[in-house]
Amino acid sequence: MATGETRAKSLDLLPPAILATIMTKLDVGSICCAASTCTAFRTCASQILSFLPTFHLVDIAPSIDLLRPLLQPSNPYLRSLKVDCDRLNDSAIELLLRPPLHELCLHNCTDFSGKLLSEIGRRCRDLRSLCLGSMSEYRVQAIDISDLKELLHGCTQLEALNLMFDVSLFLHHNSAQVWALASEKLTTLEIGYIPSETVTEMLNPMLGPHELPNHIQPSILSSIQKLGLSVDYITDAMVSIISQGLVSLTHLDLRDSPLTEPEVALDLTNAGLQQLNRYGKLKHLSLVRRQEFIVTYFRRVNDVGVLFMADKCADMESICLGGFCRVTDTGFKTILHSCSRLYKLRVSQGTQLTDLVFHDITATSLTLTHVSLIFCNLLTNHAVMNLVFNKDIRVLDLRNCKNLGDEALRAISTLSQLKTLLLDGSDISDVGLSYLRWGVIGSLVRLSIRRCKRLTDKCISALFDGSCNMELRELDLSNVPNLSDNGILLLAKSRVPFSELRMRCCPLIGDTAVMALASMQVDEGIWHGSSLRLLDLCDCGGITQLAFHWLKKPYFPRLRWLGVRGSVNRDLVDALARNRPYLHVECHGEELEAD
């Protein structure tokens, strides 16, 4: 314990135990940073790493050499491990898979073989939650069904399984017997891609041609409460078998991306919709038809189906319907009036959805918090003006509703809890955005005004005048043709510590913008450089090699994801990659996603 007079504020006086406790509250990156300050901290950090219970390293892709000193082999307390495995392969299996693990999440496992699955089953027997991303993405590494069997057989405590990749290569016939091995504790199952026929077969083994007549099968996966599947076609048969077999189902999330227009036998109809929620426990439902390959909808579902469904779903808390082009106001309104506990509503491609749906929303006792109305072109400002009577809305996604304008923004500015606002493709102007200044801008964390073609630099000066404390961290200004370097200069001057900034396809944005952002000062001038982790400059008109000078170290010290394209030299990109080996650079125009 320290005594009296000479209390110089030095490190020596903070007891090592306290220092250690402070470090345990930090992420791995911050621990390594602290370790680089002095010898005392370095010792402390290496001790911490030997008993750290949580190890999450997802914003960079470590090589095995970087990972080895961090993942101490003798750490018996390691319970949760999350790693971006883009630079790892089977040789990292021993390092990653530890017996005490309860939670394991590995992204980008493209270079791992099926051995990863079987070894998890052998080594991580206490695992409760497993998430694997992007395995066998390039079909190079083979996974065998026996690998999955080992996994399910070994991990008897598994509660959540998330295979975020295409399982159709190894999961076909007799898949039912594999899933029969799953522990009874398995309550959550999510699969990245699986054909609906396989789903139907795996949940109802009686349909299998090889079943003996007197062979009694226990119901497969009956303990599942949360099911999330991406399939080829959502069919009546699949929905029926899911609703019948999964007696404890509370969350159902189905997405499909048809390659061809579905035949009647391979589609969802009113009859299928009626089968849902057979046991009355469903709280969250999501049925989405994506237009990934062709333009297609749930053409065989109309108001009748939705009415029957709403009748049985009075306890629903979250409903998401994507691609229901034949459902009119009647159907959507019935949902709002039947489901009194609804807090999350998401409608995408609601081609017949109009303002009338929200006309008497005040008559319901709804407390919506998440509202998404995407590609609902008949919606006007009136709908928003009624919607905002739900004062607790935290997420408002109105992308591609091209008739929404400034009056909608005036209404939105009254939402004091709003955290996310997406207005892509709407008809708003600078005046409209300035309405946000008097209210909602203080709570917003994420704002997108992509493709709002009427906006100019004036909207930046209206919103970011430095006078209020902003929580805003993610901003998407892509495809705003009149946005120029001056606007970005204003943004930089406002000193808002953004973490994500997207400015794709802005012809007037150039080197000056990059320089302005690079010169942002944070931390009272101790640290020069913006706080940006993600910057997307894809197809910005004025980017030349000068900008690349400002993208190198020591500028943008926290940058992890960068998007560049257009008239860009391959050499410049390579030089940048050498200067910043842990930066993800996207040069092909794909959207950037921060983990």
Binding site: M1, A2, T3, G4, K9, S10, L11, L13, L14, P15, I18, T21, I22, M23, K25, L26, D27, V28, G29, S30, C32, C33, A34, A35, S36, T37, C38, T39, A40, F41, R42, I60, P62, L66, P69, D523, I526, W527, H528, G529, K553, P554, Y555, F556, P557, R558, L559, R580, P581, Y582
Partner: protein, 187 residues
């Protein structure tokens, strides 16, 4: 913590003639602290309860604590007790519980916002000496929040420490940890 239930604590705090303990700081400050609040300081609690001392009116000298720090500690502990009581009263009512939680978070955010880095460290030392677990955890979390995702230079400045690595060690560290901090080099 105390043997009495939370409700008794609430009563004790709200009564005008509540029992108090006099505490003296090393720089001459004198504080009359309500007994329930003072009993949050485990160093005092064990002084009285474990050693079976009679609770009388003599004042206690705290050799390692200054006035400014003690007043902040008392402020935090008093509010923490209040929140604890409100939480207990709201048990079962989700909305009320959420409101108490938000109120507490608001108070804590404001409390820590007003503290300079120096003050934060001094408080940790004081609270560590007085052995107040809840407040210590709160202060530690606050320090972690202030140094998370910061540059090496910032962390050095925060703890007022010097770079004592040899050039070879410095190189090795750069190699190992460069991924965690890019751009802002050592001074």
């Amino acid at each position: 913590m105390a043997d009495d239930g939370v409700n008794t604590k609430v009563e004790a705090v709200s009564k005008a003639t509540t029992e108090t303990i006099e505490l003296r700081t090393e720089d001459g400050g004198v504080f009359d602290v309500d007994k329930p609040v003072a009993m949050e300081f485990l160093i005092l609690k064990s002084f009285y309860e474990d050693e079976g001392r009679v609770f009388d009116k003599t004042s206690i000298r705290l050799p390692n604590v200054k006035q400014l720090e003690l007043s902040k500690v008392i402020e935090y502990c008093t509010r923490a007790l209040e929140f604890g009581a409100k939480s207990a009263a709201a048990a079962g009512d989700k909305d009320a519980e959420r409101m108490v939680r938000q109120e507490r978070e608001g108070f804590e955010a404001e409390f820590v916002d007003e503290l300079s880095n120096e003050m934060l460290k001094e408080l940790i030392l004081a609270v560590n000496f007085l052995d107040i677990k809840e407040m210590l955890d709160f202060l530690i979390r606050s320090v972690a929040n202030r140094i998370r995702n910061r540059s090496v230079a910032y962390v050095r400045q925060f703890f007022d420490i010097e770079n004592d690595f040899t050039p070879q060690e410095e190189d090795q560290i750069h190699q190992e940890n460069a991924w965690a901090f890019e751009g802002v080099d050592a001074d």
